[in-house]
């Protein structure tokens, strides 16, 4: 039996033609990575390192641990370039979810640290894909800000703090079912706003 595919992400809700260019570039790079091309792997790191690091930093609030997560993820891609399956979504979207999940794993294994990094410039990436990415990021940020505060809080606590719905319910005093519904409703709102 072969290794289990590790990319469960279908898509980001982003129109297909908008991601096609970047996706095809990613696929070419991945092909070279599979052929053990160091330069291609470094290009992938340059393209998505900042994004992966930023997600990990948002969760862990510690620059050292966030870098550990980023390094481990890209090294995993280097050692297992077939872990991401083309056609099931964009590599960038996959990496952000993996970054969040790995960061939550790290968070659960250690005591919180109060070291927080300062805000700096975005990482260097391909100009075209970076422009697309920035547009999407701005759009999602806008949607997130417009969410009702209770939805926003539930989603933030679950996604970035890694709290279970029971823990969120205990913290907010709301019923479990309400928490679940808020999270799901918030996700649907984000998806619809991006698809609009």
């Amino acid at each position: 039996m072969s290794e289990t595919p590790e990319n469960p992400i279908k898509g980001t809700g982003i129109p297909h033609d908008r991601v096609r260019f970047t996706t095809s570039q990613d696929e070419l790079l991945l092909e070279r990575v599979r052929a053990r091309d160091h330069k291609a792997m470094t290009d992938l790191f340059d393209r998505y390192g900042g994004m992966v690091y930023s997600v990990a930093l948002r969760v862990l609030k510690d620059t050292g641990h966030a870098e550990d997560v980023m390094q481990d993820i890209f090294f995993h891609v280097w050692e297992n370039p077939r872990a991401f399956i083309s056609g099931r979504g964009s590599l960038g979207a996959w990496l952000t979810v993996v970054a969040r999940n790995r960061a939550i794993d790290a968070l659960r294994r250690r005591k919180p640290s109060d070291s927080v990094d300062e805000v700096v410039l975005p990482a260097k990436t391909n100009l075209a894909s970076e422009a697309e990415r920035n547009t999407i990021m701005e759009k999602v940020r806008g949607v997130m800000k417009r969410l009702p505060s209770d939805q926003q809080k539930s989603l933030q606590l679950a996604f970035f703090e890694g709290l279970s719905h029971s823990e969120i319910a205990a913290q907010t005093g709301d019923p479990l079912g309400t928490i679940k519904t808020r999270i799901r409703t918030a996700l649907i709102s984000v998806r619809k706003a991006i698809q609009a």
Partner: protein, 278 residues
Amino acid sequence: MTDNRHISEEELALHAMQTLTDEESAAVRLHVSECGACREQLAEISGDLALVAMSVEQHAIPDGARERFVDRISAGPARPLSFMRAPVIPFTPERKTPRAWSWIPWIAVAALLVLSAALGVKAYLLSQQFETVDALLRKEERLLQAHNAESMRAHALLEALTAPSAQHVMLTTGKTPPAPSARAVYLASRGALLLQASNMQPLPPNKTYELWVIPATGAPIPAGLFRPDASGSGSVVLPSIPQGVAAKAFGITIENAGGSMTPTAPIILSGAAPAAGE
């Protein structure tokens, strides 16, 4: 948690965010592996989560992170960075036990006395070997200088050992890595098996972990190969195994990359299966 046919979107969202219990997540994985509709729904939700992740404020990677990554892939397989840090555990002088340290000055003084006596005897013996007074004086002078140098070293050592402001630091190796473990969910009537392993040791490229179903009677049945990722996690989902086999236990061995039809000792992990329904 689910109705009889599908898992709710709310539960799928919680599963995608890894906020369900291990048992709940295992049940979701098992269902999703068999249900195309829920698999599709989970993929949609994961896409939504990717968007949420992209909403974070962007930061530049730390200085030197790129170089460290390039070095790492150039060096080949390696352990995660977090395992490379050997912690330095400081402890303050106030926490030391006086009795445990009280012998050190005495030992140092005794060593100094023995050293002095030895040097004195040596000086005396050497003096007998020289015929002229001048030669004897020159030798004694050198011995005296050496004696003084040794005395200064002993004094510095004694001072360092007894000074209240001295820092005492114990250096240790890295933390003991967490023990490998695995959790299996098995439905004999369907021949459905799910294994999640964690903290597994990395393997050389020509080796793989192999899962075995050990039936109540008969030979072990190979039930899938897996290699751990960089964090030591690995899984086997719905391997091709016969239905209706009552399992007595499960085991994991290390085999050659292509797998084996018979397990090779030693068994790295094993677990007895409770009676069905327990």
